[in-house]
């Protein structure tokens, strides 16, 4: 909230900080917070030293005579207060309430308060002195062996400057410290240090104090007592619009003059503004209502906003200047309401008043963009401006939003809703009959009471009474609002019990408010009683009858209801934003949307939280050594539950690319990186980076990924991000993500899916994809498939049965695992891309495919041609053909790894210019069009399936648990048709990693290797194939039988292994065992293999190994 303050303050603090206590604004009430609240000090102050002591103040009216403070006997006269003296960085405070805020103090002694404010205000008797307002501290001679300090304040200093004679009696506070000698000395040392540092702040203090009416008022009379002279000609300070347009109410009736006199007297004896000492009269004077011209100043003092202003007197002007001429949503909203804020007050019918209101609201919206502007602030600020200058109102508004009404005006208004719940439960507790009545007649209390709290009774009660409530509110804190509210209900209890619906309920209260000035006991015979107004009665009931409602009660109740309220708001926000996602979102199920919502914001919050933790860690490191371990722990754990809640206010809604990666990693297993550290954040070998709690040990330049799986970083993800980022702002909103996913996952139309994928790679949008694009696409296909897919390829199975049963190839297919199969599909895809690509005829149609066949490349195009034929037939549904033996090397949809290279080698001999396809010549630009791409995809069963279902299903939303780190490691396990490879057990460990390559660097390498190695491998393969075929001819019939038996098992759901030769001998009963073992095996394999880091040698090796294995099985 006080972002600016806090940062300034923290800077300052690192310089001054001696005790090493962190003053980080933790949301759980730390001792510093309690201390700050007790004395209404800025967030930068922390309790450094404290000591039990006795404050001695001169007796009333004795101030005129100079006293000899050094005389011990003088200490016996006057008021004595026992309490605690506290020292913080910039303040010395005294309170009669025995709370302790040192880190060594017990929690109860820090948080248990008595007295009126219960720890949220300058309660009790005492003072809150800025150190810079201390002119001198003397150590007095004392009879006892105790320390006695005489603090001389700068009270009236300005006068003294001008006329020594007018202030013969500077304010002197005598404090006797009660503690061990050591304690006292430590305290005094601290004080000395503080005083020295505070000297530079004197200017700020004088500047602010000079603008206060009390200075003017006292100086004015001080001089006019003597002879009317120079000082009286000074313009009175700005005391709000009231000074120009009259203050509300009848000054005579309010006995304004008498109040002024009382205050003047009080201030003469007890100091003014910054140096005022609180004695019981102070509280009484506030209870009877503040005089017009001092009202603003006392509000400022009691709310503590004065101390903020000391800290940075020019902040208001700076805020306005810095943002001059800028526009914002908040400003638009403010403008709408300027003419409608207390419009009945003449000051707000004028440009002057409206101008002030505008400036204060706008300046605050810049100071605290998280709050910005909330309706009701206009009313509150308008009310303040009648009694305060703009700067004063600005700082009071800060204190209101941050401390006194936390969360009231926030984006979600959670504070308002929470306090309504608190109020309701207080009503239930204190007025059970009325509560029962409300419940039974279905009257919702908050409908009535919400505006009371939100606008501090300002537009519920007549203004003059609302100000009286404010007077006490600023001194005693938020509990006043509750006390007044309860008193209103109690006083009107009888009538409210007659009201049976909201309408009547509201009208009873409306009538009551309009008659607050009338006598509470009009029929009473006692004239004194008759003179008591309804408002006075209200105050009495509020503060006497409900004196049991303390800040402690409120805090307790808030804590109790907080979770429910936040959850409500979050559900509401979720429901609303999901509903408002637009037509595209309809393609996804409601559950999916809910899941996406949670996931989207979950990622953002987690990241935000991590950033904060890292930030804290940095801060902590800076301060290092001094912090006690307990402080560190409590600081962090205190913050954690508070962060990442939608309901607590504005939250990030924009997802950058890094967050997007993390988001994807949670919903798609292909987006999880293969190596513990993603390529972008370079390998630092720290496996622990998987876990959030290791963050402290991580280097700060690396963004950690929290507890979730570390995301990969692949070109495909970048493209997806760019594509979804429709506004080209480099961030995604939930809307973008949902729309994007709706297109990928929501369509059941394979054609749409294909064109969507095509568009991803059509960088310039000209409907063509060039060579680079084709290779990128292929990489992406491998990237996406490297962990397999959730859904089986059902359509393909029967066909494969036929195939497998009919030829030796079948055996190869069975041995082979799915990733290899996909790999081969992809390499076949590349090959065909280059074959079909045409620089001259960019708009080749699918229909051309037959004619395209005749354009086939060189080399073994015969075979391919027929393959292609086959593939096309298959698409048409006439997939009855069994591959002819001589086709062993290149079935389009089932090519084994061993075959692939030979295919590729023939068509893509990259490093063999002699055999080069023209398409591969870099000087020969080529591209494929969408129709071509579509045809090529449909030509391959695997790819077809990929686009039909697998791609969409690779995003796992609500229908399946999000991919976890372990589940991402089960590869290809669920694919029905082909052998799992990965899970196949020891017989084929090497191929298991075939398709799994580190993203970003390895894929292209693999492709290249396939191409080059293929040349060399091809011959070997061919030889084996021939032999294999002979073998097959012998045993074909036999194999077929076995095949038919085994097949159904393979396709049972979850039957995630299949038909390699070894496996087929495994009986169904044993497979359960294998199923369990499989995962283990997978993970261990994956781990050991390092997911195939070196594309070059490994690619070749793997291929060899694969083919050798083929051999082993066969022979």
């Amino acid at each position: 909230m006080f972002n600016n303050f806090t940062s300034l303050v923290q800077k300052a603090q690192t310089l001054i900080d001696t005790a090493g206590l962190t003053a980080s604004p933790s949301k759980s009430p730390s001792k510093s917070t309690l201390f700050q609240h007790q004395f209404r000090l800025p967030d930068s102050e922390s309790p450094l030293y404290e000591i039990t002591s006795e404050l001695t103040l001169p007796l009333p009216r004795s101030g005129r005579q100079p006293q000899d403070a050094n005389d011990v006997s003088s200490q016996l006269r006057g008021n004595h207060y026992v309490g605690r003296l506290h020292l913080s960085e910039h303040y010395i405070c005294f309170s009669t309430q025995g709370s302790s805020f040192l880190s060594t103090a017990t929690t109860s002694s820090s948080s248990s308060f008595t007295g009126q404010t219960h720890g949220t205000g300058p309660s009790g008797n005492g003072f809150t002195l800025p150190l810079c307002a201390v002119r001198r501290v003397e150590r007095l001679n004392s009879q006892s062996f105790q320390f006695s300090l005489a603090i001389t304040t700068s009270n009236g200093y300005r006068d003294v400057d001008k006329k020594q004679s007018t202030n013969p009696n500077p304010q002197r506070l005598i404090v006797q410290l009660a503690g061990s000698r050591q304690q006292c000395e430590r305290f005094c040392d601290g004080l000395k240090k503080g005083l020295r540092a505070a000297y530079k702040d004197t200017q700020n203090l004088n500047k602010v104090v000079g603008e206060l009416y009390s200075e003017y008022h006292l100086a004015d009379t001080a001089t006019s007592d003597k002879e009317g002279s120079t000082t009286t000609q000074r313009d009175p300070p700005d005391t709000g619009l009231g000074a120009i347009y009259r203050y509300p109410g009848d000054a005579r009736k309010l006995r304004d003059k008498a109040k002024m006199r009382l205050w003047k007297e009080y201030m003469r004896e007890n100091g003014r503004n910054a140096t005022i000492v609180r004695q019981p009269t102070f509280h009484k004077l506030i209870r009877v209502g503040l005089p017009n011209r001092l009202r603003g100043e006392i509000w400022e003092l009691t709310s503590g906003s004065l101390f903020l202003r000391f800290q940075n007197p020019d902040l208001y002007a700076e805020m306005l200047k810095e943002h001059e001429g800028k526009q914002s949503l908040a400003i638009d909203e403010i403008e709408k309401d300027l003419n409608r804020s207390l419009p009945e007050y003449p000051g707000f019918q004028s440009e002057e008043g409206i101008g002030r209101l505008r400036r204060v609201l706008v300046a605050y919206s810049w100071l605290n963009p998280e709050v910005g502007y909330c309706q009701a602030m206009n009313i509150v600020v308008a009310a303040l401006l009648i009694y305060m200058s703009e700067a004063q109102a600005f700082f009071v508004l800060s204190v209101l939003c941050d401390r006194m009404l936390p969360g009231y005006y926030s984006m979600t208004m959670y504070g308002t809703l929470l306090d309504q719940k608190v109020f309701e439960s207080l009503v239930e507790g204190t007025m059970p009959i009325l509560w029962d009545h409300l419940v039974k007649s279905d009257v919702q209390l908050s409908v009535v009471s919400l505006p009371w709290f939100l606008s501090l009774y300002i537009n519920s009660m007549p203004l003059i009474f609302a100000y009286r409530v404010l007077d006490v509110f600023f001194l005693e804190g938020p509990k006043v609002l509750f006390q007044i509210g309860l008193a209103i209900l109690r006083i009107n209890g009888e009538e409210l019990l007659d009201a049976a619906d909201d309408g009547t309920f509201i009208s009873v209260l409306k009538t009551y408010f309009s008659r607050l000035d009338e006598s509470a006991h009009p029929k009473s015979e006692n004239p004194k009683l008759r003179a008591v107004t309804r408002f006075q009665e209200l105050m009495v009931v509020a503060f006497k009858e409900f004196s049991g409602i303390t800040q402690g009660t409120i805090s307790e109740q808030r804590a109790k209801h907080k979770d429910a309220v936040l959850e409500n708001i979050e559900n509401f926000a979720k429901r609303t934003s999901i509903r408002n996602l637009g037509p595209d979102s309809k393609r996804l199920s409601l559950n999916d949307l809910g899941f996406l919502y949670d996931r989207f914001y979950g990622v953002l919050y987690e990241r935000q939280q991590r950033t904060q933790m890292i930030q804290q860690e940095m801060d902590r490191k800076k301060k290092s050594g001094r912090i006690k371990a307990t402080e560190v722990v409590s600081g962090v754990s205190g913050d954690e539950p508070e962060m990442g809640r939608v309901a607590l206010g504005p939250s990030p809604t924009q997802m950058d690319y890094a967050a997007f990666r993390e988001f994807l990693a949670g919903i798609a297993k292909w987006a999880v990186t293969d190596s513990p550290s993603s390529p972008s954040s370079h390998v630092d070998g720290e496996k622990a980076s998987y876990f959030g709690n290791s963050m402290r040990s991580r280097s700060l330049t690396i963004s950690p990924w929290g507890a979730g799986p570390e995301p990969a970083d692949h070109d495909f993800m970048k493209r997806l991000f760019r594509k979804w980022d429709v506004d080209s702002v480099d961030t995604l909103t939930l809307q973008n993500v949902v729309t994007g996913l709706a297109h990928m996952k929501g369509t059941k139309d394979i054609m749409a899916n294909i064109s969507y994928f095509f568009d991803l790679y059509d960088d310039d949008g000209d409907g063509k994809i060039d060579r680079e694009g084709i290779l990128s696409m292929s990489e992406a296909l491998l990237f996406l498939s490297r962990r397999g897919f959730e859904t089986p390829f059902p359509a393909a199975s029967p066909q494969s049965d036929a195939r497998m049963g009919s030829s030796i190839e079948a055996d190869e297919l069975r041995i082979e695992n799915r990733d290899e199969q996909f790999l081969s599909s992809v390499s076949a895809f590349i090959r065909r891309c280059f074959e079909y690509a045409d620089a001259d005829h960019p708009s080749k149609q699918i229909d051309d495919s037959t004619s395209a066949l005749s354009n086939f490349g060189i080399g073994e195009d015969e075979e391919e041609e027929e393959d292609e034929d086959e593939a096309l037939i298959e698409i048409d549904g006439t997939s009855t053909s069994t591959p002819k033996p001589e086709h062993a090397s290149s079935p389009p949809n089932g090519a084994s790894t061993s075959e692939t290279p030979s295919d590729s080698a023939s068509s893509l001999p990259r490093r063999d210019p002699a055999a080069a396809n023209a398409a591969l010549d870099p000087s020969n630009p080529l591209s494929i069009t969408l129709p071509t791409f579509r045809m090529l995809v449909l030509a391959d069963e695997t790819l077809e399936h990929f686009f039909d279902r697998a791609l969409a299903n690779s995003f796992r939303l609500s229908d399946a648990p999000a991919a976890t780190a372990s589940s991402t490691l089960t590869t290809f396990a669920n694919l029905g048709r082909f052998t799992p490879g990965v899970g196949a057990g020891p017989s084929s460990p090497l191929p298991s990693t075939a398709g799994v390559v580190p993203p970003g660097k390895g894929l292209r390498g693999v492709l290249d290797n396939i191409v080059t190695d293929g040349m060399r491998v091809a011959t070997d393969i061919r030889r084996r194939m021939d032999e294999a075929q002979k073998e097959l001819d012998r045993g074909a019939a036999q194999e077929e039988d076995e095949e038919d038996e085994a097949e159904p098992d393979e396709r049972t759901p979850g039957g995630a292994y299949g038909g390699d030769a070894d496996q087929r001998s495994v009986r169904a009963a044993d497979r359960d065992l294998l199923e369990g073992a499989e995962t283990e095996d997978v993970s261990s394999t994956m781990g050991k293999e390092g997911l195939l880091n070196a594309p070059g040698g490994d690619g070749k090796g793997r291929t060899r190994a694969g083919s050798e294995e083929v051999g082993e099985v066969l022979f």
């Binding site: 909203e333 709408k336 309401d337 003419n339 409608r340 804020s341 207390l342 419009p343 909330c374 309706q375 009701a376 206009n378 009313i379 926030s410 984006m411 979600t412 208004m413 308002t416 809703l417 007025m431 059970p432 009959i433 009325l434 509560w435 029962d436 009545h437 039974k440 007649s441 279905d442 919702q444 908050s446 409908v447 919400l450 505006p451 939100l454 606008s455 537009n459 109690r490 209890g493 009888e494 019990l497 007659d498 049976a500 619906d501 909201d502 309408g503 009547t504 509201i506 009208s507 409306k510 009538t511 409500n568 708001i569 509401f572 926000a573 429901r575 609303t576 509903r579 408002n580």
Partner: protein, 243 residues
């Protein structure tokens, strides 16, 4: 409000809880003010939380007493809205015909009401500030198809502040089964008509008694609940003060 506790009228009188929703400064409060006081105020204080007003509406065979909840329009107040539309039998979702964004917001409200409010709630979509549209395009009542056509033609007018074509809003209203009007709180055009149309559209079955408690709490959903609620309401006053 004192008279709200059921002064006997010759015709059967029933209470209807009506809630106004819509973006900030589209003129919700002004519509109510026009309907209740036949008055228009240029600078109305923004509604904090919600304002409550009542007004009777005489139909040929009965009198409807509207209990109007006029809500705050600022976005962040949206989370308070459920408190106000709870048990509402009718809703006026208001947008500003000069601000397309306000129609989007109105559509969000309609969706919210359809999903979260009482089933059977009567919703009227109201485009306010029709006086800002050029005279030629001033709309006919929502149910007049000819007027809409004429109006669509006039939209080209340069001096027209209108940004939301009547046709668009009307098509949406029809699709969602909403009453539709374009009003001007300033001139009073069609304001009373909206409320009358709502009064007509409230199903007889959901009107319960003059005090509105039954109607508010039941909406004809659950007769048992109504009986339960009626009991304490009558005995309540006799129990004496809670204090």
């Amino acid at each position: 409000m004192a008279e709200s506790t059921g002064t006997p009228t010759p015709r059967p009188s029933s209470s209807v809880k009506l809630v106004l929703l819509g973006e900030a400064a589209v003129g919700k409060s002004s519509l109510v003010m026009r309907f209740v006081n036949n008055d228009f105020q240029e600078n109305k204080e923004p509604t904090i939380g919600a304002a409550f007003l009542t007004q009777k509406c005489n139909l040929p065979n009965r009198t409807i007493k509207f209990e109007i909840w006029d809500t705050a329009g600022q976005e962040r107040f949206a989370s308070l809205a459920p408190m106000y539309y709870r048990n509402a039998q009718a809703a006026l979702v208001v947008y500003d015909i000069t601000k397309p964004q306000s129609l989007t917001k109105a559509q969000h409200w309609v969706a919210e009401l359809q999903r979260q409010a009482s089933p059977g709630i009567v919703i009227a979509l109201v485009g306010n500030k029709a006086d800002l549209a050029s005279p030629g395009s001033f709309p006919a009542p929502g149910d007049d198809a000819d007027g809409v056509e004429a109006n669509a033609d006039a939209e080209q007018d340069e001096s027209d502040a209108r940004k939301v074509p009547t046709r668009e809003a009307k098509a949406y209203a029809e699709e969602e089964g909403l009453l539709f009007y374009e009003t001007s709180a300033k001139t009073g055009q069609y304001v009373a008509e909206v409320f009358t149309a709502i009064a007509h559209a409230i199903p007889e079955s959901s009107l319960k008694g003059p005090r509105g408690v039954g109607g508010q709490t039941n909406l004809g959903r659950d007769d048992g609940a109504r009986v339960n609620l009626a009991g304490p309401r009558e005995t309540g006053p006799k129990e004496g003060c809670a204090c």
